[in-house]
C-alpha cells in the first residue's frame, strides 16, 4: 500500500508540474459554465427543477469530456516511461506492475475527481442561486459525480492498456484518440444507423440494449438519465433508457473500471523493458 501511495504522490506531483491538473480543471469548469449559461434560457417549460435539467446537460457533456481527459492523462503512463528509459530501473524495485498501475490510477483519478467536482460544482451553484427548487436535483448531481469518476477510471484503465500496447507515446496518443472516436462518437452513430435500418426488428429489441450496456460511455449515460428526474429533457437514448433496467446499467458502470484495469495489467505484463 505504501508503494502505491508513494507512486501516486509522485505521479500527482508530475501532473501538477505538467499543468495537467490545471488544464483538466479549467476544461471542466469552462464547459460547465458555458453549459449552464446556455441551458438557463430553456427551462421553465419542462417542469423539472433547474438543477435536474443542468444534470441532464452535464451528463451529455461528461460522456464526451471525461473519457477524453482520462485518455489524455493516461496515454503517456507506460509508453512515456519506456521512451524516457525510466521503466527498466523502476521494474528492478520491489514494486509489482499492478502496484505501479494502481499508483498512477489513484493520482490521475484524484485529478479527474477534482476537475469534475469543480466543473459540476460551478454549474450546481449557478442553478441553486437562480432556483430555490433546485435542491431537489442534488441526489442526481451526486449520482452524476460518482458515476463520472467511475467512467473516468474506466478510460484511465483503457488509456494505460493503449499505452502499454503502443510502447511509444506517439503511437499511444493515436490509439487513445482512436478509442475515443470509436467508443464515444462512432459507436453511437453506428447503433443509430442500425436501429434506423432495422426499423423496430430483432436488432432494436434484443441487440441494441446489450450494445448500449457493453459501451461504458453509453451505460453511464443510460444510468444517469434513467435515474434522473429529467429523463424527458434528454435526447437520443432516452427511449432506450426506459426499457433497460437500472441495475443493468449500474452493473456495467461498476464492472467496467475493474475490467479496464485488468486489461491494462495484462498489457503492461507483456512489456519487456
Amino acid at each position: 500500500m505504501s508503494r502505491i501511495l508513494a507512486t501516486s504522490g509522485t505521479e500527482f506531483r508530475i501532473a501538477l508540474r505538467n499543468r495537467w491538473v490545471a488544464i483538466s480543471i479549467l476544461l471542466m469548469a469552462l464547459f460547465s459554465v458555458v453549459l449552464s449559461a446556455a441551458g438557463s434560457s430553456a427551462t421553465g417549460t419542462i417542469g423539472a427543477d433547474r438543477l435536474s435539467v443542468v444534470v441532464a446537460s452535464l451528463t451529455s457533456l461528461a460522456v464526451y469530456l471525461v473519457p477524453l481527459v482520462a485518455l489524455l492523462m493516461s496515454f503517456d503512463a507506460i509508453a512515456g516511461e519506456v521512451e524516457r528509459g525510466t521503466l527498466p530501473l523502476l521494474l528492478t524495485y520491489p514494486v509489482s506492475r499492478p502496484e505501479i498501475l494502481l499508483g498512477k490510477l489513484l493520482a490521475h483519478l484524484a485529478i479527474l475527481t477534482l476537475a469534475v467536482a469543480v466543473g459540476y460544482g460551478i454549474a450546481a451553484a449557478a442553478a441553486l442561486l437562480l432556483d430555490a427548487e433546485a435542491v431537489a436535483g442534488l441526489p442526481a448531481l451526486w449520482r452524476l459525480l460518482w458515476s463520472s469518476v467511475l467512467l473516468g477510471a474506466t478510460f484511465l484503465g483503457v488509456g494505460y492498456a493503449a499505452s502499454a500496447l503502443a510502447r511509444r507515446p506517439s503511437g499511444a496518443a493515436g490509439l487513445a484518440i482512436g478509442i475515443w472516436l470509436g467508443l464515444i462518437v462512432l459507436y453511437d452513430l453506428g447503433l443509430l444507423a442500425a436501429v434506423v435500418a432495422d426499423d423496430g426488428g430483432l436488432f432494436t429489441t434484443k441487440v441494441f440494449p446489450l450494445a448500449l450496456l457493453a459501451n461504458p460511455a453509453d451505460a453511464f449515460r443510460l444510468y444517469n438519465l434513467a435515474a434522473s428526474q429529467a429523463t424527458a429533457a434528454a435526447a437520443g437514448v432516452a427511449g432506450a433508457a426506459n426499457t433497460i433496467p437500472l441495475w443493468a446499467s449500474l452493473a456495467s458502470i461498476l464492472l467496467w473500471p475493474v475490467a479496464a484495469l485488468a486489461l491494462a495489467t495484462a498489457a503492461f505484463r507483456k512489456v519487456t523493458p
Binding site: S2, T7, T10, P88, L89, T92, Y93, P94, S96
Partner: protein, 298 residues
Amino acid sequence: MTPTLTLQCLTKTYAGQPALSDVSLTVAAGERVALLGHNGAGKSTMMKIILGLIPHDSGSLQVTGAAAGSPEARRNVAYLPENAAFHPALTGLEQIRHYLSLRGEAPSLAMALLERVGLGHAARRRIGTYSKGMRQRVGLAQTLIGKPRLLVLDEPTSGLDPVSRRDFYALLDGLASEGASILLSSHALTEVEARTDRIIILSGGVLVAEGALADLRRKADLPVSFQITPKPGFETDLAAALPQATPLSGYLSLSCRQDEKLPLMARITALADKIADFDVQPPSLEDIYSHFSKRAGQ
C-alpha cells in the same frame, strides 16, 4: 558461505542470434567483478537477466539465494542502468524520496544520499536541468538505498569526470568492504584495472576470459617490446648485435615472448656501453583486452 550470484550455463537467444552462450559465473559476497566486452558482447543482456527484466532460454541462476526478479531478489539488488534516466519534472530530492519509499525506507534519508554523491547543492533543482554526469549521480545515489547485497552497475562511470570517477570507486570500495557484491560493466580495461578483484571478458555472448588482471596478463602471454636508443656512432654495431630488432628513426625496436624476456635483457645489458637509453613496454591493458576479445572471432 553461499555466493551472492550464481549463473550456470546461462543461454539467451534473440531471434535466432545467440546473445549469451553457456555462461557460468559466481560472485562471492564483497567481491568486485568487472564485466568487459564490446557493444553487443552480451553485457547488458546478462545484467538484465540477472535483474529479472528479461527471461533466459536455458541454464539457471540464483540471485541472493532467490530467483532472478523475485520480490526477494529485487529487495536485495540495486541497479544503475546505462545512461540513467529520470522524469525531468521531478527534482533530484523528490526522485530519491520516491525510490526510498518504494524500498520501504524513510524518505527523509534522501538528502544525505544526494550529499554522499556530491549532489546536495542541486537537490532541489529539476532533473531536467541536470547534466549527464549529475543524472548519473542521481542513479548512483539510488543504488545506495538500503543495504543492497548485490549492485549491478551498467557502465557506471560514463559521463563522470576523472575526479568523480575516483570518488565513485572509493564509494564502491566502502560498499564492498561491508559485504556487498558488485558487478559492473565497462568498455575499457584501463578504467577497472586497479578497482576490481576479478575481470570477466565477454565476446559474442561467450565468456572468453576470467580472472584477476595478473592472471589475464599471464594467460594472454603477449610479447614484451623493447626500445633501444644507441649512442651516436654505434647504430650499425647495435643493429648487428641484435639482428631481430627493427631499426626505426633514431632507435631500435624489438619484441620477445614473456619467457625470453630475461635472456634478452641480459644480452642488452652486455651492450650497455653502446646504448644511450632503453625502455621496456609490457603489453598494455588494451592489448590484453583485445587479445581475448579477438580470440573469440570478433
